[in-house]
Symmetry: D2
Subunit: 397 residues, 4 copies
Amino acid sequence: MRTSAAPRVRVGMIGAGFVARLHAEAYRHVHGIEVELAGVAAARPERAAAFAAEFGARRAAADARAVIDDPAVDVVDLCVPSHLHAPLAVEAARAGKHVIVEKPLTGFFGPAATPRAEMLRQALAQADGVIAACREAGVRLCYAENWVYAPPVQKARRLLAAAGGPILRLVGEESHSGTHAPINKRWETGGGGSLIGKGCHPLGAALYLKADEGRRGGGAPIRPVSVLAEVAQLADTAAFRASAPRYLNTVEGADVEDWGSMLIAFEDGSVAQISASDAVLGGIRNQLAVYAAKAVLFCNINPNDAVQAYAPDPAVFAGEYITEKIETTAGWTFPQPDEDWMTGYPHEMQDFVESVAHGREPLSSGALARDVLAVVYGAYLSAAEGRRVDLRPHLTA
Amino acid sequence: MRTSAAPRVRVGMIGAGFVARLHAEAYRHVHGIEVELAGVAAARPERAAAFAAEFGARRAAADARAVIDDPAVDVVDLCVPSHLHAPLAVEAARAGKHVIVEKPLTGFFGPAATPRAEMLRQALAQADGVIAACREAGVRLCYAENWVYAPPVQKARRLLAAAGGPILRLVGEESHSGTHAPINKRWETGGGGSLIGKGCHPLGAALYLKADEGRRGGGAPIRPVSVLAEVAQLADTAAFRASAPRYLNTVEGADVEDWGSMLIAFEDGSVAQISASDAVLGGIRNQLAVYAAKAVLFCNINPNDAVQAYAPDPAVFAGEYITEKIETTAGWTFPQPDEDWMTGYPHEMQDFVESVAHGREPLSSGALARDVLAVVYGAYLSAAEGRRVDLRPHLTA
Amino acid sequence: MRTSAAPRVRVGMIGAGFVARLHAEAYRHVHGIEVELAGVAAARPERAAAFAAEFGARRAAADARAVIDDPAVDVVDLCVPSHLHAPLAVEAARAGKHVIVEKPLTGFFGPAATPRAEMLRQALAQADGVIAACREAGVRLCYAENWVYAPPVQKARRLLAAAGGPILRLVGEESHSGTHAPINKRWETGGGGSLIGKGCHPLGAALYLKADEGRRGGGAPIRPVSVLAEVAQLADTAAFRASAPRYLNTVEGADVEDWGSMLIAFEDGSVAQISASDAVLGGIRNQLAVYAAKAVLFCNINPNDAVQAYAPDPAVFAGEYITEKIETTAGWTFPQPDEDWMTGYPHEMQDFVESVAHGREPLSSGALARDVLAVVYGAYLSAAEGRRVDLRPHLTA
Amino acid sequence: MRTSAAPRVRVGMIGAGFVARLHAEAYRHVHGIEVELAGVAAARPERAAAFAAEFGARRAAADARAVIDDPAVDVVDLCVPSHLHAPLAVEAARAGKHVIVEKPLTGFFGPAATPRAEMLRQALAQADGVIAACREAGVRLCYAENWVYAPPVQKARRLLAAAGGPILRLVGEESHSGTHAPINKRWETGGGGSLIGKGCHPLGAALYLKADEGRRGGGAPIRPVSVLAEVAQLADTAAFRASAPRYLNTVEGADVEDWGSMLIAFEDGSVAQISASDAVLGGIRNQLAVYAAKAVLFCNINPNDAVQAYAPDPAVFAGEYITEKIETTAGWTFPQPDEDWMTGYPHEMQDFVESVAHGREPLSSGALARDVLAVVYGAYLSAAEGRRVDLRPHLTA
């Protein structure tokens, strides 16, 4: 709806793939602010051009610098592979642009044999570099953790605020049947496996809710102090290999975990159990349970029963999207009426452009992104050494 | 998101109450089109002024004509009691304005003792008057049946289109624990009880899906041919009056039904079972089941399990909305993360302003509104005379 | 568990098919009473012999009379096609044997063209004959309506008794994807279609709960006074025939309805909506909702979520039962951990042998069976004539 | 149902409290075997006498030895506090009696300050003593882990057998709002907190399913090799203490955990995540998820939706059981139609008396009981030392 002086935010996108499309789609739903796609860069020029044409971007470029340096760009939205997040974010900040970075903010990208303590050190150093660059440039760092914005999580936050009293325990999971894309199955490109790729989501939401609980009373965010974790390659065992046919998506030469579970303690004595798996059939699971002193909340981002569908054979629904990563569309399924919405994409982009337009912090910012990295790489260290990892030395104030 | 030449639609609202606020809130979420609140009229001027201030309307007036005649208004949005829909819609159309009318489009508003055949005749005559006025003026008639736009119903529509084959049977219901507002409990003001006030919603969605099925194959809408119905005053029996304490909302002097159920036959041999009740505890129920030749779809607008909440006593969630018409917020509840969204309000307003801006029919138009009235008042006639009512003589081509 | 003087009940079974097996299995679970299978009769002697061997019956016979006249038989359990219920029940009663009759107690079995009023008259006359024969012989008439005994229905009954106040409305349904067995699809053998074959179940439970409500306060059962109904052949329309592939089970030459819905009014002003369908994909649905003045109860006999299962393709669960009438075992399904138990078979047989052993009425008796017939055949009459049928002239005191 | 030569099993019960009643009730439902309650012993003679009268036991005694030495007793059923399990089981075995022991089989019962390694050593030594005594006496050791028998778990087992392929991951939990009984909140009497008291259930079921997977193919049970765990006292933090009103059941002076979570690795590379909590509002949660290579199974022992109930205030259902440990019966609840059945008690006792009568191992035996103890006390050690515990040195072949 138009108001007399709708502010305008000019976005430059780096990347024109799946995530870029999700973001561009979400920008379309922003209201109260004029979002202008000032430019898009992609290594393959024809892809940038096609994207610009489809979403109405003013310029298409093959080089990220063209977007970063464009004076008509207010905010740079990085929709590129994870290992490129940190260097491009630093470049954008130094060019005076606000930055939107997809999850994870950064990580460790190198040989699987690297000691986990070194991975943890490098990932946090990278994150610190990005955060410092943004602070020094006076620009916003928007961490695109959509679970913070997912309507069920925000509803839970409001109900918790109404109820008062501490959250005692959070139990969260993101899982599905994996991917055939090698990029996500190697340390060099993925920066880890299920925990960094999927576990960052429920972890981000859990850390956000505890931080919000602390701030709600006028205090500091309540933060994690330790993590104990296990990881495994469930689809890389003798028993699994002997079992046919196979339904999980596996990649030859994968060197990352396809399951991980983290037991996290917070400074106030509360706990979180966060799991992630690439070895779960039956469609994506995005769930967070919150057990508080006065209430219980279950956030069922996926699946939920807003729509329940049945097809007697897989051909029936062939023409329509059901849900991410389901192996068959036969039988009963739980199709999302609008997966982007339920997953929080439009709300996320609304907050980001508002934070830029109105000069305030986004709900999901660099501080959250860094805590997520500390916990996940702390978990990798814990699993490798079979011991609890004290996170306090690794957290910034 | 801004595009080079975003069209603009200027809305004038008549009414500044609950429904007007829902609509104004929904206009805020419209994207791709500039919606301008050109004016608002309310009988109480201070209310109009407050509304204008809150939602940024340019003018506030005490008289509907001021809005209707305002040359700065493209579309008049009628958020007034049902018995005022038809006369104001006709006025607006004659003034050359597009019209948005809340459900029901119109009805019979008079003494309860009026024969049901006469009620049916008058309701359809009123509807025909509105439709003719809009046609003659060349303006859009937007029928605000939000179920047509509710994301679960639209998802079901897409899945049915993917599946192909006929819908065999629809089962729908809207029900809750009633109201303390006498306006909805008297024929003079409500135009009936549960069936017209609540049943119109699942009925509208059912008629829409069958019409869409017909049009999908390039043919005509598939329409109803008969209705058989019962109505009752469940909360007005000796047994109910003897039972204490009471939890349902009842009104002394109510002369309309608090339950009705309609068995509808379509011209292709398929059927619908549509019920409505004001005598249901436990929160609003907005549900539609679609049994098709190749698929089954359940649309759970309310309740669904996107969020599940538990509070050990009703005080816990006192500060936060749970769901419409729940008697207690203790125990397990199913709070909507965003009830407006799940119920289709933003999608509805998006379609209406697009239909106006782009000169096309809205998904929910006068044709649907009239069929809803024919079925509901046909149902009143059926229940009164204890016989099946042939709808064909009452339907327009 | 053994008690000092466990009474003994000797059962003679007529029939050795699917239902007989269900009953025999249920007898095995009876406790506190010694159930002895004294004999079994089946037209095909080898089938009777096999059954006797499997379930430990003392005698196998080809002739029902051999079982009925056997002095070692206390109760005759009729597991035969519906049209044989009444004559065999009368014979058994006259032989001084208690009688267990599967649903429906009896019906009309003849040409489809018979006027519905005549069907109603004949069905009730048959029922009256059975009831009179049992009364005259002083034997129990046990009406095997398992829904009365299904644990969810009995739990609802106890909760309603705890809550007090009237039931205002019941909504029940049994439906699935039909059968390939012509016997159930012809008036001559089935006595009707979905309503008599499936609808009798939720109807029986609804009538039982209202009767129980009346008796609870020391009064008479609360009984139905009228019915308004529609029936249809949903899988026999041009649109359905044109749609391929077909997933519903259809029978060429079927002359009965595959869908029916009944709107029933009770003498206290409350109502029931009971539906049945043979045109529902996705597995059997056995559901009853009870909306009372002080409480709401949903009985989900099938499906419920005690177990949720997912298989990526139909071959995975090929070796294990999922649920009745599901077209695919791929995708998500809701397998019953113990369908017999959830459906009330062991509880039903426990009550029947206790009623015989202890000389008391079973919960589900001839009175309920007759009311079910009056409502269902009243519904056929209603649907045929398109008018409400007053049931009072057809009900016995 | 009676068969010609129903075997007889004579049970002597030690204890006459809550658990003894559960068992006695379950014995009543045993079929095909005559269960005779030969005697009952309770420290308070009047309690034993009342129990004997109610359940038809032949003798009541104040001394456990009177039951153990009774020649008319075949099997001794120990329904006594956990710390008495081992000594009485050894006595019973030495007297030549089969033994039924409630969970946990035994444990460590002493000062909270005892090193966890010592606790682990003592608990397993106790278990070994019981197992050896039974083996030497040639009697059955029946470990009353009802989850092994719960219908949803057995249905999952059958579906897994049908599917084939390995279980990759199990996620289980038992939790509720705790207890006011100090006996369960102290190491001396409870042998630990949530993990031993509640976690033993989902753990037992998980170990059983993996063991069954191994045996299914003719091989050895697949067993756990390590555990990593955290425990906490969630209802003993400053934030919790500052929050009023309190809804969780807490005990002053509790020295055991009210939450624990275990990450277990199996020898085949699969994993289990087992949690238990006394700090969960909203009713008992008994859930096990099984993610296998070819299927997913969710066992919802509690809650499930076989019955859904709503009451507008807590007084409505005051007279009828809803579910264990719910704080309010207002709002929506999920009452169990028959909690004993869904929880597996009758099936458990059926197996135990059959194992005794037919001279075979019960499904839940000493081997399972000992593995449960090794994992739980291994978990306590892990949490105390903040490191992964290798279970292999602690497991017997």
